[in-house]
């Protein structure tokens, strides 16, 4: 197992190298000039050129890439063109809100979606099943920002139960931290819940049709035990796969959710950096997301071994 983990971690290196080259090249050829944005509307072409030179943006592609890659290898993600702050510092500032949002969303989604999917499979064909599937369609179809606006309108503006916007660090209290995340995580979680619920239902239906389930029933095991102990455990592998894949959905959705609910997370930092062509920040963030996704996938693969003892690496 240790060897497997080690090999997987080593294999992230070429993956990250390809991602790094791809992102750097893409930004290099993309239109837009951060020097022009920095210089402002009143700047002369000479001003823009001078800023470009001071930022090192006038150097050849290979020189810029080489320097950047060298710094990455030394753990230096560079400095933001606009804020003049280290990219690592910017990420540290913003990582807690994003991780908090994703964690709460994940917990909420799994807590709601898995039981929903189980019940839908148990009551397949019934009104409950249809309602769950309708909810899933809703979750897939309605954009995150629409759900966000509806939630904010009802629960914040009309009922005044929760704040419209903002983020409170957990160091300032658990409840203040959580209350800012409830609405965003419901909004972000809707599509995730839909995805997991449908997958749970599908795999549960398959498992519930197996002979060993009939045996369990014949032995007198209660419905709860059958559903949540015997069947769910055997259906867990595809569900866990979908949860892992859905992390990417969460990352994308976090961008919109953070903008709507004014959460100062990595998603907003990504959008802002792209719009103003803050290349070092964009590159740093893409590398971070890629690395995180690789690690999440590794974690999911390792989780399989816990769920299914037959899986060994």
């Amino acid at each position: 197992m240790g060897g497997y983990v080690g090999r997987r971690i080593l294999s992230t290196i070429p993956v990250m190298a390809v991602v790094a080259l791809f992102v750097f090249s893409l930004l290099y050829i993309a239109p837009g000039d951060p020097a022009a944005i920095i210089a402002g509307d009143q700047a002369t072409p000479a001003d823009i050129e001078r800023i470009r030179a001071s930022l090192g943006l006038d150097r050849p592609f290979l020189v810029q890439f080489g320097e950047w890659a060298w710094r990455i290898l030394h753990g230096d993600l560079g400095t933001s063109i606009f804020t003049n702050l280290p990219v690592l510092d910017l990420i540290k500032q913003r990582i807690e809100p994003t991780v908090s949002l994703m964690l709460v969303t994940l917990v909420l989604a799994i807590t709601i979606a898995v039981p929903l999917g189980v019940v839908a499979a148990w009551k397949a064909g019934s009104i409950i099943d249809r309602l769950v599937m309708l909810f899933a369609v809703f979750g897939f179809s309605v954009p995150v920002f629409v759900i966000s606006y509806l939630l904010a309108y009802v629960f914040a503006l009309q009922l005044d139960w929760l704040p419209v916007q903002g983020y409170t660090p957990i160091s300032q209290g658990f409840w203040p931290w959580l209350q800012n995340l409830i609405l965003p995580s419901i909004a972000l979680g809707a599509v995730y819940i839909a995805l997991i619920a449908r997958m749970t239902r599908a795999t549960m239906l398959e498992v519930l049709a197996q002979d060993y389930i009939k045996t369990a029933r014949a032995k007198g095991i209660g419905q709860g035990g059958i559903l949540f102990v015997h069947a769910l455990k055997n259906a867990a592998v595809p569900i866990v796969t979908v949860i892992g894949l859905g992390i990417a959905v969460l990352i994308g959705g976090a961008v919109v959710t953070e903008s709507v609910f004014v959460i100062p997370g990595l998603g907003r930092l990504t959008v802002d950096s792209i719009l103003r062509r803050d290349y070092p920040v964009i590159q740093g963030l893409v590398l971070l997301f890629s690395f995180a996704y690789v690690i999440v996938n590794l974690g999911i693969d390792l989780l399989y071994t816990l769920i299914d003892p037959r899986i060994r690496y």
Binding site: P31, G40, L108, L157, P163, I221, V262, P264, R268
Partner: protein, 550 residues
């Protein structure tokens, strides 16, 4: 229900509906049914009343007002750094950090004396050498500063409170240069900070103004915090824009960047923020209905919409073709596309300067007045030699103003029978492409849309867009010696009457040449909660004099 429960009990599993619902976890989320806001304990009322929560117009992604000339940076910098002079609401320069000034009869030597007791946020006194370094840095980036540099003999500190600026030729606009609110303003920084290369960012934010910048609380692009500087010495006069006594009546100002207008609107209605700088027109009626919110014009100097035509290549290298566009365009169409049906928010302008200001005039503006003449414009197009060349029209879709104007222009050009190559892009790309001098079909452009703050269009001082000095002009590179001569005449004018005469000629010559196409004058609203008082109209959001009750 009972039958189902009995079956569960026989099997020894409590699988009733209540258990199922608990398993679904629904109760936790709506556990506060019947209660009011599920908030953490609110700030004590006193503390809340001393913190002003403001939603600015844009991200404060960097905080060097000389290096980055965005309006939002200038607005924040005005809290943290003071200036030697400041314009009042009549746009007249007034002393701010300066106690007195003298100029020799020949206009060549200016001597300034600083007020007593001025301090930086690190406790150090403001000295003349700090001022000298600050002015050196500012003048490297500012158009008026560059003019001063070009005719400068020396700029020196005479003693701790006195500095002297001697010139080779008189510069009557000296006080305006030091007072103006156009970015970059001549903010006064400590010498060590001011010695930073003007093309590189400062890394320290020690100021001279009424508020400190709380760098440790700054989340670029999300939040900026300013705290009251207890040792700031305001002037005795009442505050009037950038002049007078900048008295802070709150201890803390939080700038909360909200990219989503609907969220900002909801936050203002909910009392989570106190003041919103730029509500979008669509949401203003909603805010006006709220009894806890006040809405009023933000900046009486407003904005001037524009599109620039590339004078280097056909078709707009022809004055007649440019004039044909002016003849046909309808400023009402442009303005309504931006502000909607609210007639209080726009007016037509047959010229280039800000309505309601002392130097405004309409000389030569007949081409923009009256009924639009499409047929006449078509004839002028033909006379100008238009042969059906594609008009590459760059339109940034991520700015609502340029998007709206771009759609109107595309329709106008089609009405005129022109061949439109509509390039929908983003503002960042527009910024790059407009600087290219390639032909339109080879990565260049024929026209792009933008707008200018009215505060920048009061006179030629900071009005880069009115210049017509060819290669050194703003994008579009208009080249008119007459326009340039008029601008020089204005700079040299010594009296208001002379300035007005120069401006009338400038307006006419600029319109005759068509330096750019002005699409109209428009205003915007600001909105704030009723427990906030002292909010005034102005070219930037002035926080001095603003107070708040809990």
């Amino acid at each position: 229900m009972a039958k189902w429960v009995r079956r569960s009990k026989v099997r020894g599993e409590a699988m009733d509906r209540r258990t199922l619902l608990k398993g679904l976890g629904g109760a936790g989320i709506v556990g506060a049914v019947g209660t009011t806001r599920l908030t953490a304990p609110a700030l004590a009322q006193g503390a809340n009343a001393r913190t002003l929560r403001f939603v600015p117009q844009a991200n404060l992604a960097n905080f060097d007002p000389i290096w980055g000339t965005q309006y939002v940076v200038r607005n924040a910098a005005a809290l943290v750094w003071d200036t030697l002079y400041g314009v009042d609401d009549k746009l007249m320069p007034q002393r701010q950090m300066v106690e007195q000034e003298e100029v020799t009869e020949d206009g060549l030597v200016w001597t300034f004396k600083l007020r007593q007791g001025l301090k930086f946020h690190d406790g150090e006194p403001v000295r003349a050498k700090d001022v000298v370094s600050s002015l050196v840095r500012w003048s490297a980036r500012d158009p008026m500063g560059l003019m001063l540099r070009a005719s400068q003999n020396e700029l020196t500190a005479v003693d701790d409170r006195t500095f002297k600026w001697s010139l080779k030729k008189p510069y009557p606009k000296m006080l305006l240069a030091l007072a103006k609110n156009n970015a970059p303003c001549s903010f006064i920084m400590p010498e060590r900070i001011a010695k930073t290369d003007p093309f590189k960012q400062i890394t320290e934010y020690v100021g001279s103004g009424p508020m400190r910048f709380a760098k440790d609380e700054w989340v670029p692009g999300a939040k900026a915090v300013f705290t009251k500087f207890a040792d700031y010495v305001p002037r005795d006069e009442p505050a009037l824009w950038l002049a007078g006594g900048k008295r802070m009546l709150v201890d803390r100002i939080e700038w909360i960047v909200m990219p989503d207008a609907a969220t900002a609107s909801a936050a203002l209605q909910n009392g989570e923020v106190d003041w919103w700088e730029t509500p979008i027109p669509d949401l203003v009626p909603l805010l006006k209905q709220n009894k806890n919110i006040l809405v009023d014009i933000a900046d009486p100097l407003g904005n001037i919409g524009s599109f620039r035509m590339n004078t280097l290549f056909p078709p707009f290298n022809s004055v007649r073709i440019r004039r044909a566009i002016l003849m046909a365009m309808n400023q009402e169409d442009y303005m309504r596309s931006i502000v909607g049906s609210d007639d209080n928010l726009w007016k037509p302008i047959p010229g280039y300067f800000t309505p309601g200001t002392p130097l405004y005039n309409e000389e030569g503006g007949e081409i923009l007045k009256g009924k639009r003449d499409i047929e006449g414009a078509k004839r002028l197009l033909a006379e100008g030699g238009y042969k059906g060349e594609p008009v590459t029209c760059i339109v940034a879709q991520d700015q609502s103003i340029t998007k709206a104007m771009g759609d109107v222009t595309a329709d106008l050009l089609k009405q005129l029978g022109m061949n439109v190559d509509f390039v929908a892009t983003d503002w960042g790309t527009t910024g790059t492409r407009r600087a290219m001098k390639n032909p339109p079909g080879q990565g260049g452009w024929s026209m792009f849309h933008t707008w200018h703050a009215g505060a920048d269009c009061i006179n030629p001082a900071a009005y880069t867009a009115i210049r017509a000095n060819g290669d050194n002009a703003w994008f579009g590179w208009p080249n008119s010696p007459e326009v340039e001569a008029d601008i020089t005449t204005w700079f040299d004018a010594k009296t208001l009457d002379e300035e007005k005469a120069a401006m009338r000629k400038l307006n006419k010559d600029a319109l005759d040449y068509v330096v750019y196409a002005p699409t109209g004058f428009f205003l915007a609203y600001q909105a704030w909660r009723k427990n906030v008082t002292g909010v005034v109209k102005g070219p930037l959001p002035f926080a001095w004099g603003v107070s708040k009750t809990a």
